[in-house]
Symmetry: C3
Subunit: 345 residues, 3 copies
Amino acid sequence: MEFTAQMIAQYLGGSIEGNAQATVHTVAKIEEGHPGALSFLSNPKYTPYIYSTRSSVVLVNADFVAEHPVEATLVRVPNAYEAFARLLDLYAQAKLPANGVEQPSYISDKAQLHPETYVGAFAYIAEGAQIGKDAKIFPQAYIGRNVCVGEGTIIYPGAKIYDDCQIGNRCTIHAGAVIGADGFGFAPTADGNYHKIPQIGNVVIEDDVEIGANATVDRATMGSTYIRQGVKLDDHVHIAHNVEVNSNTVMAAQCGVAGTSKIGKNCMFGGQVGIAPHTNIGDGVQVGAKTGLAGTIKPGSMLLGTVGQDAGKERRAIAVYKNLPDLYRRLNEMERTIAKLMEEK
Amino acid sequence: MEFTAQMIAQYLGGSIEGNAQATVHTVAKIEEGHPGALSFLSNPKYTPYIYSTRSSVVLVNADFVAEHPVEATLVRVPNAYEAFARLLDLYAQAKLPANGVEQPSYISDKAQLHPETYVGAFAYIAEGAQIGKDAKIFPQAYIGRNVCVGEGTIIYPGAKIYDDCQIGNRCTIHAGAVIGADGFGFAPTADGNYHKIPQIGNVVIEDDVEIGANATVDRATMGSTYIRQGVKLDDHVHIAHNVEVNSNTVMAAQCGVAGTSKIGKNCMFGGQVGIAPHTNIGDGVQVGAKTGLAGTIKPGSMLLGTVGQDAGKERRAIAVYKNLPDLYRRLNEMERTIAKLMEEK
Amino acid sequence: MEFTAQMIAQYLGGSIEGNAQATVHTVAKIEEGHPGALSFLSNPKYTPYIYSTRSSVVLVNADFVAEHPVEATLVRVPNAYEAFARLLDLYAQAKLPANGVEQPSYISDKAQLHPETYVGAFAYIAEGAQIGKDAKIFPQAYIGRNVCVGEGTIIYPGAKIYDDCQIGNRCTIHAGAVIGADGFGFAPTADGNYHKIPQIGNVVIEDDVEIGANATVDRATMGSTYIRQGVKLDDHVHIAHNVEVNSNTVMAAQCGVAGTSKIGKNCMFGGQVGIAPHTNIGDGVQVGAKTGLAGTIKPGSMLLGTVGQDAGKERRAIAVYKNLPDLYRRLNEMERTIAKLMEEK
């Protein structure tokens, strides 16, 4: 896709300075500009780059005043960052495959497919599945029986949705993610083996959720595992059975949440956090990377540490921890001194 | 699938109280009951719910005495929990796809497929592969050359089994799991690069094993990586080359076991545990979440900690760790006091 | 594939002792030898096994002197280990599928496929993709639009390469790996939701890279995420957007590197390491398993610890940490003693 500065200015309602016919086919940071690229200048720190950038077109704020000659074509807009973001959204949307069904694909005649959807080759859509308008089911994706996929939702290549799960509108499920595999439930038997507890619940993913590549959300034993509206889970995140992750909570890569835990709204988790079973985390909690948590966590807490505690306390404990060898030496010395004092008494 | 209370009572050998024609099509916890659902009451703690549950049919113990009117149809059985579990097993079994081969699929004419199996669309079965009776090979699964899949084993969508691996009877391999990828072995060369050490062994998975979604079990450099009878591995677990995990050991999500380690029987691992290469863990060892282990671990040990040690010791160390800032303050104070004492002497 | 001792000796330029027609079809460690297997003896520690091994053919160093009768056929070569490694390479190469396109597969007529490649059934190759000579695209792999796959590169079953990513020559991408999924970038909005920041960059993987099963390398927000020449990433490793991993760095399983971090050349990471966003790690750094790192790390450092520090310091801190309960007891005792001293003064 190629665009002229004029088309961009028109779309954004901006004004042009320079060659209105300059064309771009990609975007670049202003400091890494190259011919054919569109950049933007918003942060004054980057202003020097506008005089040297090789990008063909640069969005600038309306009040930008050039102090040296600028080679790129400028498009002046009220807010260059926001305008750039709008263009990116447009670009990302335009890159999605057009609606239509590629062959060979497998679509059960008992599935309901909105006529305006994309289904890639080798995608599998089982009986009873419902696929909403403008959903994009990429190649090799698996949509199990009775699965609902909402409007505008993107299921990337090879993502797997087990039977009976529900995916809301405008969700993004990345490649390799597995939604609705069995929860990890086994009952020990008298002979030292385990008997599998059938996992007959499902997963409910609400609207505007993003699930990262190779993440897993397990189905509930009974009832549902819930991923509420607006949640964002990064790659490799694991959500166990019967967990509830409430709206707009974000978790960085490789976090794991064990069974039946409840996570509040608007929480933020760093990477590799681990949550024990039956943990209850309030709204707005912030958890540092690699933290481990169990029990009940108050809303608004900030937590850190393998055995997670208040982040401030943990930071002070870490500081002493790093001095432990010195502390140990001083303790030994004091003991000797005290022994001497006692002796001399 | 819909069942009447009568059919359920007949199957379980129970007796009915109420409407024998009441139908159910799903199950629910008694406290989350709804019309069309089957529930059970076993734990007396939940008895109050039987008077308010909206479930259509409830299994109760033979000796249950209602103290108030009950709306649901009751089915009396000797052990309500066990009966419910039996029904769940039946239900889970009934939900599996019927035997047959969906098209398009790829089955080498040099593969041996038992006539009673399910092979989903886009599944790939390479030459020399053997698929046992009642095995279920879901869509988009990959069965490499000479792979054996035992009787009644389920390979969920998109699971990948590399060449030469063996999967026992009644195993469950969840979506996205990868069995038999190369072990991570590279020999440094004189010029600072690495030379790949070919990984020409395989993976042997014995009977009754469950492997979670997106888990990985790497093939041995030579010989076999072993997952023994009854082992259960949760999602994202990683088993490196030449590891042996012995029977009935269970590992929660995101555990990683490095090369050539040997794990005993009937061990239990919490989530995100890491095992160093060449670790040797005895039978019946219990390992807390996020623990790191190396060396030799005695049978029956209970371990905890990033640098794993006896769980009791680690808990005491954690308690002091959390008090380190206070401990540090007291130590400083004592130093000052001692200095004063020394001065005044 | 079956080979005689004679064929092996001829290929390696070695000499035979024993039955030149002895055949092998697999390899085994000398101590686990069995009929039909080829073994080698290099480390003198294993010499006793040569008298009892059941392997059919054993490679030995030219100067090996048997002190007892040996049943296996011996092939004498200048360096038995090296010769064995050469044979393994040959064997591994021979096991790769022959070039050709299996059906059904999906190859856009706007993709460029070198005539000498393997494309497995259910593989998807989108428009604009370029596949180099001797590349092996296994079944169910996904090659997005404009993706370049270099010569001799192996894409194992079900690996997914998103649009616009570049994979160099002689790379190995294992099953379930996802290259080029969106980086994890969201801008909070005034109403407490998040707005997705389009991730329109790509991933560039240079030559001789190995990416483990179910690993993920996310595309850059803008520009590229770089995996430089010779890097080896184990299973489940996560590389976030805009990261750069420099040449010949190796990372063990389940490591995670957060956004925009830069990792030097020839670094070594143990398993489950976590790297914070914007970390800058110099060349030749060695990082112990489960370490967490942030900030700037000097070249050649050795690091350890959840809050990573110099490995030697961390080991001393760990030693004291494990004694914390005892240290605490002694501190309490000293306090009492000092109090007494003060009193008696």
